[in-house]
Symmetry: C2
DNA sequence: CTTGACCCTGTAGTATGGTACAGGGATTAG
DNA sequence: CTAATCCCTGTACCATACTACAGGGTCAAG
């Protein structure tokens, strides 16, 4: 099980060193053990967590949202019903985003199809498919 | 064809009055015609545009991204190839987001399933399914 | 014809999510 | 053993996307 310095973790995850320390301050990643010198020593699963944060951010989740997602786990101290309730709420959010993205995809595909047809087609802003 | 004041548009779209003026300054919505008094008079399609902006923001697009999306249209003055290229790039972005969201959905569903099973299951952070 | 809700411009302040030093100690390649 | 490169804390600054006035004009109900 490899352990990383903050710099190695930064290179592997694509985040900056300062960003990783920022996430620690914000409670998104646990405070890692330190060497005698004070250097942080990260267990390798921190890498997966950093990648998860990057992905979730790209999907429009705030760091606060992401913290909530990361805290969703089946732990002995929490009631199962509570976790299920929160997970189901998150699934609802995710599915709403999926719906919107699928509408956007359809609109964009329609746009390229109109373009490929090379007809005049006039204006075709993609909002047509997303005005709800 | 109804026309709205900025306040009506704000109530209907869920955006604030100041936000709408901000979007105008940033070029996300066109400068509307004015009454003699200087009041903005919005055509009703501005409502669809504001809703599109809200949706796109929820999906992790920046205002800059959204401006690019809104400028994608089949217009006589632009080359078809150029529009297709930009639309296809946006489709790529959208599909990448769709993939990530589907992975996240699967992980969350798995989490609730483990929960429903009511077994001990130990820790089950959703990052397990998203470490890529 | 006034009073309260609305709108105008302009500027300044806020929250989020970083990013960049400064000043100083630790590590490692040669 | 020393120079380059890393890491530490702490503070300050930055971009994005709003949000909140201030100071003043407009509109519409009673």
């Amino acid at each position: 099980m490899p352990a990383y310095t903050i710099g190695q973790l930064a290179r592997l995850s694509g985040a900056g060193v300062e960003t990783i320390r920022y996430y620690e301050r914000e409670g998104l990643i646990a405070e890692p053990p330190r060497r005698a010198s004070g250097y942080r020593q990260y267990p390798d699963d921190t890498l997966a967590r950093l990648r998860f944060i990057r992905h979730a951010k790209a999907l429009g989740f705030s760091l606060k949202d992401i913290k909530e997602l990361l805290e969703l786990r089946v732990a002995p101290g929490t009631t199962c019903a509570d976790i299920r309730k929160r997970a189901e709420a998150k699934i609802g959010e995710v599915r709403a985003k999926l719906d919107l993205l699928r509408q956007m995809e359809r609109a964009l595909v329609k746009l390229t199809a109109a373009c490929r047809g090379r007809g005049p087609a006039g204006e075709c802003p993609i909002i047509d498919a997303l005005d709800k």
